[in-house]
Every structure is written in structure tokens, then in C-alpha cells.
Symmetry: C2
């Protein structure tokens, strides 16, 4: 197996990308191909580790790409014009079977455009979407769309429900994954226009498309373990995702502070630290490593834009699992049958 | 001062409403008028406390109202047809100066309709909105609209920004409250159509309307203390609110469980409990008690639909503060000047 990694994408590129790869390499079986400016990558490796990349592992390769797509670039333009960017080169390698999965922490819009234009949509899917994995009570929660399509129609949300259903079944072995629609109340009359229409469409088509649609779900129930996936347009989904992230940070800061408030709690906090750390890990959705673009013909993983070395490491490990589970192949199969 | 409380509104009415009032009465100076079915209220008090309501406090009164607006009722119809409902009677008392603030945990849509139709909008405001108060790092965060207007236009979001700015200045003494627009990125090109247009309008009008607009804010930064209020349409705002609530619950459950994982952490957890409880309290936005409807001529407070006795108690205490701060009078003044 070969994992293609955009070495130039993300807020901490290329340092975090390179370090994450080197951290991950002995925890996976796959080969990792770093796509980016070869000279820069080689120099960074020498600077960080005092040796050549080949001396570190024979499973890390470099593919030279002279350009970089920036966060400010307009997605469609960037994909069309920056032919030798790390992202476009990575996508082409994926398309031409020079690798099994492509990971990037770069410009999300460009990633969606590239996935659609270069790799191509699965037949029957109008818009691919980002499926993020978050921790939930004694389980996990798939959020689709986590942020790629800011303006959606009901048909898109129906397809998100279908895709997440197939994905969860094949990846986590859940026989009839429970799919909920993110809304502000459980009654069917609740929500904005998009959500009301999507509710009706989902209810109408659920049986035919084999979706276990459990109705509207409010954010307050999202993490209870009652639902396996929540479906939303990319704007609302991304607000949801980033709110959990913000609150997670706030929780950690407040908790640490609370435990240090007086000498007694400070002293007593020391032996409870393993429990606190275990808890922090549960909270940290970053450990789930990256989100998969569902609806494209090959596995494309969006790493968090602000990924550090640790997060790249997790994302690479997770990407290997995505490929092993053949989630995308099974998606193509199921949509062919329908 | 007189606080009017809808005794029949909310998931746990009238039990929680009655108990909360009795818990609160010795912590406030105001009188509380319970609006609802008198016989039921009297019987419940006897059942819970073994005495008549007058024996408990001479500052708790009852105003009889024979009907109840249910959660399933269509807001406009309910307000027009159920003339003797606890909500409509409460609103009319507020309008006719028989009380200084009205609190209800009932049907949100009906509450908005009643506030607008019976109490009336402040001149210059197209749509009143719910301003919720959440905890944030070393501070608090005002969220407007927390859920009353599911479909909004840019002008509404501009007015939400204006109202929250005036409210925070007068209630919390912050001279130039920092107002952010809830979005999925900080760049001005990010977001759905509503958010993009609202961004431009806010930028254009901020100086003229004395709004300290700091631009887009992502959920991940919302609790950092960098912003005093976040503005959103009621759908997105409510998703944000309920997500924080859901994650809060999940955090508490996971934390408690982590600390009980083995005998060592269990034993050591005992002396750290005060710190944990302090932390849980910080997390619990319920302690901030209720959300104020900004943009109507008198103070109207929406209590959480699933309020228990504790939460009614907090909301009543907070309502007294709202009236003392004269937040609504100051809002009317400032809009008259403009």
C-alpha cells in the first residue's frame, strides 16, 4: 500500500507533515510518498534528524512538485492553474494508481474541487462530502457534511445519509447505522426550509434506500451514542464541528485550572492525572485523525488545517485503515446496484 | 418589583416552576406571581410542602389562567385563540404594568409571537431575538439569536449586533463589546450566502451604529474570551447552543467515568471533587439562567424548555437582575436617539 501525503498543505507545513510521517512510519506497513518541493523536504529532514531521508526509512519517498496551493487561493482557479502544485500532483498520482489514498491538510475548497475534477465522483452522487469522525459516549459519531458544501439542497442531504450509512456499515461493522438529521428540535415542523424539506425527503426515501433514518436530532443528543451519523449541510455541519472543538479547548483549560485552584486540589490532582489524561484523550477528536471525502472514486482524506506532527501521525495511521477497510470500493459497488 | 412566571410552561411544569419559585423567594426581594390553574397550583404546594402557599411566603401570589399553550401548538394560532392561557395572561399583565418581567419555559415560537404581538417591538427593530448567556474562558459569551428566528436576512443580523452591543454595555459594563459573526472561517469570502452578505453589511454600518465588529468568528474561538457576543441566524445559533449543551453532558459523563476507572483514581478523586464540581459549574450554562428577548418593549425571559426546579430558581434570580439593570429601558433610549 502507498499513502500519498501533500507535504506542503496545512498551517504547519512542511515541518509538521514531515515529522508526522517519520513518527508514523514504524507504526504502519504502507509506504508514504511526500509530495512537495524536494530540496526543502530533504533540507528539513537533515535539519531535524541530522541524516538523509533514505537513512531514516526505505518506506518514505519524495515526489517533487514545485508549486503550492495557498489557503487564500480560489479553489477552481488553483486546481486548474497550479498544475505542478503538491495537491494537483498528489491527486494525479492517486488517479493513475501510483498510490492508494491521498492526504492533505491544505485549502479545503481546492481539495473538494480536485477530488471532484481529477479523481471524479462516484456515479449517482451529486456532491461528495466530508465525513468527520468525532468521539461520542462509548462510541463515535460520523458528521457529514463536516464543511465542504456550504449551500446544499435536500437531495444532497439524502445522499449524505446514504453514503454515511454504507460507510459506517463497512468501516465499523454496524449493521443498521442510525442516521439523524441535525436540527433545532425533534418535531418534524422544526428548522429552516432546507431542513424541513430534507426531513420529508429522507422519510419518503429511507426504506427504499435502506437508510435507518431516526428523524431529527438536536446537538444536545448528538454525543449520547443514540445516533451513528448526523447529516447536515456543510455550513451547519462545520459550525457544529468547530463548536465542539472550541468547547473542548475551553473544557481542558477550565479543568486544568480548577484542579490547580488550591494546594489541596493541586496535591490531590497528581494521582488523578492518568484519569484526567484518559478523559482529555476521549474528548480530543483529533485522535480520530482526518475526515474522509465520501462520494469520490478513491480515498481522499482531509487532515485538519492546523495539524501538528502528532495529528499528521494519527491521520496517516487512520488512512491506512481506510484503505484496508475498502470503504470506497464498497461505496462504488453499492451505488452500482442501486 | 414583580416577577410574572408562567407556571404552566415547560417540560416539567407546573412542579418545577412551583418548586423553583419557592426555592428562589428568599434569595430575591421581588414578588413572584405564578400564572396558571389556581387549583392545581394550590394542590401541588400542599402536596409538596404540607401547607398553603400564603404560609410559605407573602411574596408569592397566584393569578388564575384556565388554559395552557402546548409545545405542539402553532404559535400564532395559540396566542390568538387561547386568550386565557397562562402565557397570554402573563403577557397582558406585563403590558399593563402589573409586573416588571415575564418568564416562561413554554413554546418558544408562541413566546416570540406573544412578545411581538402583545408587548410590542421597540421602534427600529424588525425582529426581536433571543440573547443567551454562556460561560466562556474567564468571562461570558452572549449568543444572539439563540433560536427564535430560523430564517433571517442580513438586516436582522445587523440589528442583533446592535442590540447585543447595547445590552452588554449596560448589563456587564463592557465599554466597547466585541461583536463577532458566527462563521466557518475567518476570511470574508467564507460561509453561506446569508453570512457573506451580513458580513458586508456589518462592515459597512459598524462605525455609524457604534458596533465594535471584529469580523467572522469560528466556533473554535467562541469560548476563548476574545469576543463578547456572537451573532447568528436563529437556526445556526440554536445548533451552536445545543451542541455546547450536548458536549457539556458528554464531558461530565466521561469525566466522572474516567475518575472511577480504577481504585487509585477512584480514591484520589474524592479530595478533588470540589475542584471537579467547580469545573462542572463553570461548564453549566444553566447557571446563567434563561435568555432575554432583546427588541421588545419590556423584559421577557425565555427559560430553558427542560428547566428543573434548580434552573427555575436561577432564572428567577437572574430576571430580577435584568430588571434592576434596566437593560430594556436603555435599549429603547438608544434606539430613539438613532
Amino acid at each position: 500500500m502507498k499513502i500519498i501525503l501533500d507535504a506542503m498543505g496545512g498551517d504547519n507545513a512542511p515541518d509538521a507533515n514531515i515529522k508526522g510521517t517519520i513518527n508514523a512510519i514504524n507504526k504502519i506497513k504502507a509506504e508514504v510518498i511526500l509530495v512537495g518541493k524536494e530540496e526543502i523536504i530533504r533540507n528539513k529532514v537533515k535539519e531535524f534528524y541530522g541524516k538523509e531521508i533514505e537513512e531514516i526509512s526505505n518506506r518514505i519517498k519524495i515526489k517533487n512538485a514545485t508549486e503550492t496551493i495557498e489557503m487564500e487561493d480560489i479553489p477552481t482557479k488553483a486546481i486548474k492553474n497550479k498544475k505542478d502544485s503538491s495537491m494537483v500532483v498528489g491527486f494525479k498520482m492517486l488517479k493513475e494508481n501510483e498510490g492508494d489514498v491521498f492526504i492533505s491538510a491544505g485549502n479545503s475548497g481546492a481539495l473538494l474541487t480536485g477530488a471532484t475534477l481529477i479523481v471524479g465522483r462516484i456515479k449517482g452522487i451529486d456532491r461528495p462530502a466530508l465525513a468527520g469522525i468525532l468521539p461520542a459516549y462509548h462510541s463515535r459519531l460520523v458528521l457529514i457534511d463536516a464543511g465542504s458544501n456550504t449551500n446544499c439542497k435536500p437531495i444532497n442531504l439524502l445522499q449524505f445519509a446514504q453514503m454515511s450509512s454504507i460507510y459506517i456499515k463497512n468501516t465499523f461493522g454496524v449493521e443498521h447505522p442510525k442516521i439523524g438529521l441535525l436540527n433545532i428540535g425533534t418535531e418534524e415542523t422544526k428548522g429552516n426550509e432546507l431542513v424541513k424539506e430534507s426531513y420529508n425527503l429522507l422519510k419518503e426515501k429511507a426504506e427504499e434506500l435502506n437508510i435507518n433514518f431516526i428523524g431529527n436530532i438536536e446537538g444536545r443528543e448528538a454525543f449520547s451514542g443514540k445516533v451513528d451519523a448526523i447529516v447536515a449541510d456543510g455550513f451547519t455541519g462545520n459550525v457544529f464541528l468547530k463548536t465542539t472543538e472550541g468547547l473542548g479547548k475551553f473544557v481542558k483549560a477550565s479543568l486544568t485550572e480548577s484542579l490547580k485552584k488550591n494546594w489541596l486540589s493541586k496535591l490531590c490532582a497528581i494521582p488523578t492525572l492518568p484519569a484526567i489524561n484518559r478523559f482529555k484523550k476521549t474528548m480530543d477528536y483529533k485522535t480520530y485523525g482526518g475526515a474522509l471525502f465520501l462520494g469520490v472514486k478513491k480515498p481522499v482524506v482531509k487532515a485538519h488545517g492546523s495539524s501538528d506532527a502528532k495529528l499528521f501521525e494519527y491521520t496517516i495511521i487512520q488512512a491506512e485503515k481506510f484503505v484496508e477497510n475498502k470503504a470506497v470500493d464498497k461505496m462504488i459497488e453499492e451505488f452500482q446496484i442501486k
